[in-house]
């Protein structure tokens, strides 16, 4: 039972990633894509969580945390880029 549910949920996550991917490809605007990427990252976190349940291992818990961190950092980076063109800036620019 649980296995089935996990499987279904995994599939659903994959589908949502696919939709997000469609958004990235299609656009139409840059923020759309960024949002979609962010979403993919977040979906991946869930997927890893579920997979580690499936595989019955704790080995991937670090990955979850890292993915969380990175999703955050890359989202910031991308938004910075969209916003300002450069992702790290000098004080003097301001």
């Amino acid at each position: 039972m649980i296995d089935k549910i996990l499987l279904v949920s995994l599939t659903l996550f994959v589908i949502s990633i696919a939709i997000a991917l469609f958004r990235i490809i299609k656009g139409p605007s840059m923020p759309d894509r960024a949002v979609a990427l962010d979403m993919i990252g977040v979906n991946l976190i869930s997927m890893i969580a579920i997979i580690s349940i499936v595989l019955k291992t704790k080995a991937f818990l670090e990955a979850i945390l890292i993915l969380g961190i990175l999703a955050f950092i890359s989202t910031i980076a991308i938004s910075r880029y969209i916003e300002r063109g450069a992702i790290i800036e000098h004080k003097s620019d301001n």
Binding site: A63, I69, I73, A77, E83, I87
Partner: protein, 141 residues
């Protein structure tokens, strides 16, 4: 055009410390669970990058007055010299040793020369990553 980054900065301050802790944890636990010097280094580096992102170049430079090239060089030096050490002891190059110690607080702890090696790796990764990013952004200014 000044962009108000208060939210970001506030949250970064907390997050950076989480990341740093996590990085150190990854680095230390690498021998038995996923992690290790390389990933640890990467995570540490990303913490620093987050600092750069949330503030600006000069601020970080002020708070972290390090030349990261030297950090990287130090890392490489550490990594190679653990190998080199074994030459002095007359065992094959890169021989690693390990021993278990029963330390009061941590329980049975393993101390290995690999840790030094991994520390070297981590330092290099941090140093190189920051150097690269720093050079590009500094130049682009």
């Amino acid at each position: 055009m000044k962009i108000n980054d208060v939210i970001l900065r506030t949250i970064s301050r907390i997050v950076v410390f989480i990341i740093l802790t996590f990085g150190v944890y990854l680095f230390l636990s690498g021998h038995n669970t996923p992690g290790g010097g390389f990933i640890g280094g990467l995570v540490l580096a990303s913490a620093i990058i987050l600092l750069y992102l949330s503030t600006d170049l000069e601020t970080v430079q002020k708070s972290l007055p390090l030349d990261f090239k030297y950090v990287a060089a130090l890392g490489v030096f550490l990594a190679t010299s653990t190998g080199f050490g074994s030459i002095i002891f007359g065992v094959p190059f890169m021989s690693q040793t390990f021993a278990y110690f029963d330390l009061p607080i941590f329980g049975v702890t393993e101390l290995t020369t690999v840790t030094i090696f991994e520390a070297g790796v981590a330092l290099t990764v941090v140093g190189v990553l920051v150097t690269i990013i720093f050079s590009i952004s500094e130049d682009g200014g």
